[in-house]
């Protein structure tokens, strides 16, 4: 990654939702590296001893002494390097903290760039006592003797009365190497020639230099297990280590990929995969999580093409492309989606991509979700109960299809929805929604959804769904019931029923009449038209036609169901405006089989085989 792009990535990670990003702790066993990594690092110290024994053995003579540079004796004023006293590990040892830093410019040890010296001060309970290393090394400088604090790291630690135990050296600026360090700089060129046998020689290879910066023998990489090799297309070089690799890519930078990221990306690093690392791994949320960006020059318009993100207990997954951009837009690990629980993968139609996520909160139930990015309907996220409902209905194969909106508030507490769409041959063929509220989490789609939209959705008289779309009892259609969040009334709530007769809303008490009929005689069938509201003789009337009957509801007769010959005769008389007036009862079948219905101005009786008579 270019410096500009790297800093942009860090800035993005640092702002807003990622404020909790913390740098790597550079003490052994620090917060970033897992216990397993720590144990691995301890083990590789032994490997380093086996691989480079000459650097740990007694080497008398001036040539060897020259490795340590000037003022390397016990009586000299300076402090020993940490790798000298810490089994080759170029990190602050246990019982110390990063107390401050200075630099020497134009250092051969950093290939002509600045070399940084980081003091590891003892903690107040430190076991370190003033002494000098034995004569098995030429770095016989003091250990834990100089009580001094540079003062530009770990400013939250007030203590400046403990000694500098040892010094770490790095070619990485300390404020990048350890997030507790500030950019307040001190220069001391007099220390520029000081070194130790356990540190790289002048003009090291970039990969060796990087390995040393990551801790050397104590780094999470472990020992080098392959020769440095060229990358394809002349991109640079790389080398394998026990627990990862270091890549030196001309256009991406010099970065290590280590456990726990390495196992998740090992087979995919490169132009044909997720690209090359564009930054070292960084710790998230106090070391609970981690992230590392990757870029592929061929497609790095947005700065980062892929990001390996992980969390303790969840593992590491690679998030890419539009899903990555959407996830960052929602706040990354600190946003509502949390950490990835899958790699970004193609959608079922092969046109889009998706990834699954989990938000893990303290003391609260984990919330799962997913982000879908599709060229036809865009990139959208869903989570929690809505995601669970969508999954239960079949996920991508469900009648809902893919999310077509983010989670939207419905203007009431705990009430949200996601819109969905199905796509066939590059075109949206159907819409739907999952709505979650105090009335439950339910899905509506296709014609039922369209009618709900036409009725004003949650703001209309229907309110929100109280069940998924499901078949009508008579099997003639499908329907979903609805209710306002505040509860249904005579004229609100109801249902939407779709069938070969069209799709119609049946509101309030009329829906209750229909459901009772479906549960019993089934004389009405599915609705065949909209509710008609009118006033007849000064009386308000609600009526709605169904496949085999009609419902009339007024002050003089609520929920009156007419059907068959009596309905035909009533309509033949002119219906509500006719001479019979409004119905005052439903059609009732008497014990002898006759059917009777009463009206404001008469009664209609149907005698099977004898026709309808009016009295």
């Amino acid at each position: 990654m270019t410096p500009d792009r790297a800093s942009a990535w860090r800035r993005r990670r640092a702002r807003g939702v990622d404020r909790l990003v913390e740098g790597l702790s550079r003490s052994l066993g620090g917060g970033t590296w897992s216990r397993r990594s720590f144990l691995s690092r301890a083990a590789v110290v032994g490997s380093a001893l086996a691989i480079r024994p000459v650097e740990y053995a007694l080497r008398p003579g001036t040539a060897y002494d020259a490795v340590c540079g000037t003022l390397a004796g016990c009586g000299d004023p300076f402090t020993a390097f940490c790798c000298t006293i810490n089994n080759g590990v170029n990190l602050c040892p246990e019982g110390t903290f990063v107390g401050g830093w200075w630099k020497a410019d134009r250092s051969a040890y950093c290939r002509g760039a600045a070399r940084y010296y980081v003091d590891c001060n003892g903690t107040t309970r430190s076991r370190w006592r003033c002494h000098c290393p034995d004569d098995h090394t030429c770095d016989r400088r003091k250990v834990a003797c100089n009580v001094f604090r540079y003062g530009n790291c770990n400013l939250q630690i007030a203590n400046f009365s403990t000694a500098v135990v040892c010094r770490v050296v790095t070619c990485t600026p300390p404020w990048e190497w350890d997030a507790t360090c500030t950019e307040t700089a001190f220069v001391d060129q007099a220390t520029g020639s000081q070194s130790a046998p356990c540190l790289p020689r002048p003009w090291p290879s970039p990969i060796l230099m990087k390995w040393s910066d990551l801790g050397g023998a104590g780094s999470p990489l472990g020992a080098q297990v392959s020769r440095t090799a060229s990358l394809p297309d002349g991109d640079g070089t790389w080398a394998r280590f026990e627990h990862g690799a270091i890549y030196d890519v001309h256009w991406a930078g010099l970065y290590g990929v280590v456990d726990p990221v390495w196992p998740a990306v090992a087979t995919r690093v490169g132009r044909e995969g997720i690209g090359y690392p564009a930054h070292d791994v960084i710790a998230l949320q106090g070391g609970i999580g981690w992230a590392q960006p990757f870029v592929n020059r061929a497609g790095s318009r947005q700065g980062v093409d892929a990001e390996a993100v992980g969390r303790r207990g969840l593992g590491t997954y690679v998030v890419t492309g539009a899903v990555l951009a959407k996830w960052h837009g929602l706040g990354g690990v600190d946003g509502p989606m949390g950490y990835p629980t899958s790699d970004t993968a193609p959608t079922g139609d092969g046109l889009g991509t998706y990834g699954e996520f989990r938000k893990v909160g303290r003391g609260v139930r984990s919330s799962e979700g997913a982000i879908f990015a599709h060229p036809v309907i865009g990139a959208h996220a869903m989570r929690g109960p809505i995601f669970e409902k969508w999954s239960a209905l079949g996920g991508q194969a469900s009648p809902l299809g893919l999310p077509a909106s983010d989670q939207l508030g419905l203007g009431s507490p705990r009430a949200y929805l996601n819109e969905f769409a199905t796509v066939v041959s590059g075109r949206v063929t159907s819409h739907g929604a999952v709505v979650t509220s105090d009335l439950g989490t339910w899905a509506v789609w296709s014609w039922v959804f369209s009618e709900w939209v036409a009725q004003g959705m949650q703001h209309g008289r229907l309110g929100v769904p109280t069940a998924d779309v499901h078949p009508t009892p008579d099997g003639l259609g499908q329907f979903a019931p609805f209710s306002p969040l505040a509860g249904a009334t005579e004229t609100t709530g109801g249902g939407i029923i779709t069938s070969g007769q069209g799709t119609w809303a049946v509101l309030g008490s009329l829906f209750a009449v229909w459901r009772a009929d479906e549960a019993g005689p089934r004389v009405l069938g599915v609705p065949s038209g909209p509710e008609v509201d009118s006033t007849v003789g000064g009386v308000a009337l609600r009526s709605q036609p169904f496949l085999r009957g009609s419902v009339y509801s007024s002050q003089v007769g609520q929920g009156c169901v007419l059907y068959g010959p009596i309905l035909a005769a009533y309509l033949g008389d002119g219906g509500p405006p006719g001479s019979l007036g409004l119905p005052t009862s439903s059609v009732v079948t008497e014990p002898d089989g006759d059917e009777v219905a009463t009206f404001q101005h008469g009664t209609l009786t149907y005698v099977p085989g004898g026709g309808v008579t009016r009295t």
């Binding site: 009586g75 004023p77 300076f78 200075w102 630099k103 410019d105 760039a113 600045a114 003033c130 003091k142 003797c145 100089n146 009580v147 001094f148 604090r149 540079y150 003062g151 530009n152 770990n154 400013l155 939250q156 630690i157 007030a158 400046f160 000694a163 600026p173 404020w175 500030t182 950019e183 307040t184 700089a185 001190f186 220069v187 001391d188 060129q189 007099a190 220390t191």
Partner: protein
């Protein structure tokens, strides 16, 4: 009396002492140097380090080096810089042979971090030897007693 003025900090310079100040600025290759004021009873070379590297090695047993080093304004008020104001009098027993950035036999040092006027600073004093406690410490305390640190000017 000569007074050293650098970056809003004024230090009286005892007779026979040398004084130099640096205003700081962005450094090549990254990092930012902040003002540093140095007083010493020996010559202050151009390549001296902020905490006296290159100078303390040449201190006579009765010599003295004083550094007042500033840090990034964001450091002010942090735990390390919690002490309020420049100490105006150093006590002899505060000096210790271990309290040195460079452990040079015979020398004694003291270091104090503090905040003043929304600025974060560190006072670091090195005495060339025990003999300097009687001869130089009064001069150091006179410097501290008459030092002034103006509040940071916000951009």
């Amino acid at each position: 009396m000569t007074i050293l003025h650098t970056a809003g900090i004024s230090l009286p310079v005892p007779r026979g002492w040398e004084a130099r100040g640096r205003v700081g600025g962005a450094l090549e290759g990254g990092g930012v140097a902040y003002p540093a004021l140095h007083l010493a009873t020996c010559a202050l070379t151009g390549d001296r380090a902020a905490y006296g590297g290159g100078v303390v090695e040449r201190l006579e047993p009765d010599g003295c080096f004083l550094a007042l080093v500033e840090f990034a304004p964001s450091s002010a008020g942090t735990a390390l810089f919690a002490e309020r104001g420049l100490v105006r009098r150093l006590r002899a027993h505060w000096f210790a042979p271990s309290a040195l950035q460079r452990a040079i036999p015979g020398q004694l040092g003291v270091q104090r971090f503090f905040s003043e006027g929304a600025r974060a600073l560190c006072l670091y004093v090195v005495l060339g030897g025990a003999a300097a406690i009687a001869t130089r410490l009064p001069e150091v305390n006179d410097v501290l007693a008459h030092a002034s640190i103006h509040a940071a000017v916000r951009a």
